[in-house]
């Protein structure tokens, strides 16, 4: 069972939510961010090039040009390896746990798995983020010493930051699974 829907993130960019239901108690939600547009890359590259060429024009030092190439390449690589997240997914397996993973544009993947006995609940929360107040989905972790308290909060979909309507959809189907087990 697959669904694909388009939503927007808090900055108004389109993101797509893909709900995949593997079984009645195992669902996967994938939020994909839009690809980096070619125009943006071109603009940045052109800016660096123009700047380096101006410096070259005044200094007549070719090292500036080669440095510009290296800087552009390295920063692009760093960007796709550490910054640009291609898609984030949330795998909820009833009675086993919740797995969050984010795939970077370079293919790097970071995954965290949280066992069910540590999880208290999944909720939608409000937080101040930069100069905005946004809604976000988060997993509440239990405090092992006192079961009613919340020891910490793990925010979900940190880089795609979907808007409330998308979060509500994910939240509802997560609760369906959590309430069953």
């Amino acid at each position: 069972m697959m669904e694909d829907e388009a939503f927007t993130d808090i900055n108004g960019k389109t993101i797509s939510l893909d709900c995949q239901s593997h079984s009645s108690f195992c669902r996967e939600f994938t939020v994909s961010s839009p690809k980096t547009s070619m125009a943006k890359v071109m603009v940045y590259t052109c800016c660096v090039w123009l700047l380096s060429y101006t410096v070259f024009f005044f200094t007549q030092n070719t090292a500036v040009l080669s440095a510009a190439i290296v800087i552009t390449l390295v920063s692009m690589m760093l960007h796709i390896h550490f910054v640009k997240v291609d898609h984030e997914s949330l795998l909820v397996i009833g009675s086993l746990g919740i797995q969050l993973s984010s795939n970077y544009a370079s293919g790097r993947e970071t995954t965290t798995f949280i066992e069910m006995n540590k999880i208290k609940d999944i909720v939608i929360n409000e937080a101040i983020y930069m100069h905005q107040i946004i809604y976000f989905l988060c997993v509440l972790l239990k405090d092992p010493s006192e079961p009613d308290a919340v020891s910490s909060v793990v925010p979900l979909f940190q880089s795609s930051k979907p808007r409330l309507n998308c979060l509500v959809k994910i939240y509802k189907s997560c609760q369906e699974i959590l309430s069953k087990c």
Binding site: S23, F25, C26, S95, F113, K118, P144
Partner: protein, 600 residues
Amino acid sequence: MVLKIFFPQCCNRADSGLLVGRWISGHESAVVLAVIHYPFIPGQVKQYVQQMQTRSGVELSVLGSWSLPKEGQEGMESFLRDLSTIFPQKRWLQISRQMGKTGFICNVLNRDHDGESAQKVKRKKKHEDVKGDEGEEDKEEEEEEEKVIFIHYEQRKVMMSQLHPIENGLQDPKTDSPSELRQMFQTVAQSQPLFFMDKYDDGPLKSTHWQSEGREASIIVELLKQASVPLCLLVTWLLSLWTWICNIRIFSLYPFCFLSSKLSTCVQLSYRTEHMRTLSSPRPAAGHTQFMRKANIFVSFLVDVALGMLLISWLYRDNHISMLANTLVPAADHVAKQLEELLQWLMGAPAGLKMNRALDQVLGRFFLYHIHLWISYIHLMSPFIEGIFWYGGLSACLGLTFALSLLSDMVALLTFHIYCFYVYGARLYCLKIYGLSSLWRLFRGKKWNVLRQRVDSCSYDLDQLFIGTLLFTILLFLLPTTALYYLVFTLLRLVVVLFQGVLHLSVDFINSFPLFAVGLRVCRFYRLAEGVKFRVLCDEPGTALHLLMEINPLKVSTVVQTYRTPTYSCYPKDSWAALVKKLFVGELIYPWRHKTTKTD
């Protein structure tokens, strides 16, 4: 409730037989460890399981049956079901694969532990009936009453990995039992004896589980183990000799004691002794943490010595030592000359500032005299410097860290004059600051209450106020001169401290960097697990959910943080703000820390 079955990947294609494993209590999950094949005698299986249970300390049991249909093996179904009566269990799993399908099918037979046989039969019969009539419906019914997840794991990796954060064996019984995954990891790791049975063994039982590829390397390991015992004894003996020397009474006298705590070479020496003592203890490491600690110390010691050897080979080639010595003496001379010029400049009108002439002259002369003393000291020393270097360089064979600590000590000794100037300047400045602050309080009709650690109000006499005012004025007008001297010498001192700090930092880095753990993370990433990650395998409709469990390796930064060898880290723990405040008030700053604080 969902039933979770941890299933080893190596048993995917095993022949039909019995599943051996463990039920994890309270979590509705079963860990399958091995499959015992047909034919077997039930009594022997029971005996074998019993034997393994005592050897590994895991509550092993027969979980159920496994069937992989092949041509010519039909009609096993009823036989497998009858097996459940032989091995009495609360639950009996019947896992089977069908031809041409990737998914497994699992039937669970529940029964009460002390239930009557009639009931059992009835229930079983019902199962049989339904199955005979319409197989499809049966499955659905099964699914409704009990959902099953298969979690495939790689037995070897799970067995060898260490789940972080490490929990030491001692657990307070108050806290709830360890989490499901941790129990699963423990079960697999502890049932190592089960995996020793080889597929070539000619025992009465045949089984499938993870098998090690071979044991060739283990001969070398055994030999090394044998050899390490006398080596350890030798090192221990040497160490005891060394501690005996260190404990001779003369070293505990005041000057030695003080010196050895301040010289970084001595600190490094005691530190290495500690390391060797840890390494040479004949007992095997108890627990993962201690083992990693030993291994880290050993590897970093080896690397240290190798680097030291490199340094030696460079130093003693091409007469580098005398070259160094010949440049050092003129350099020290040059520094002294520069200082002298600086003092001359300060005694005039530095940067156009108008100072208190008398105080300025007194201070300047005082410092000049010191420099004079210093220069004569350097000249006295200069013939021996090469020798000192030559013998000092030998210490590098104990490791690069020793050479660096020695260098730091030498810098400290060679810049002793700067230190002296700094102390004089700081003390004078400090005195003035304190004087001014308490006199300022006197003006406001307050005083510092020592007993209560607070500022109280207080009424002063007229003559007290008069004297106070006089003193305050004098101190205030003399402050700029002192402050200037203090500023200049503090800057010089800071340069030296910075250099020593860099040296200490590098020594500390070599001492504490967990090289072994990082190597393990790079080469055998599954050994240090942060957790697990799951991937959904095929999800054919109708079969149970299949997940693949992989090991999520620890992040490198976490590895370094967890396994860093504790040292006396030499870095001002106090923040930059505290340092600036100290400088402002005129308290002395040191590159070393007072020994009471040890970081773990």
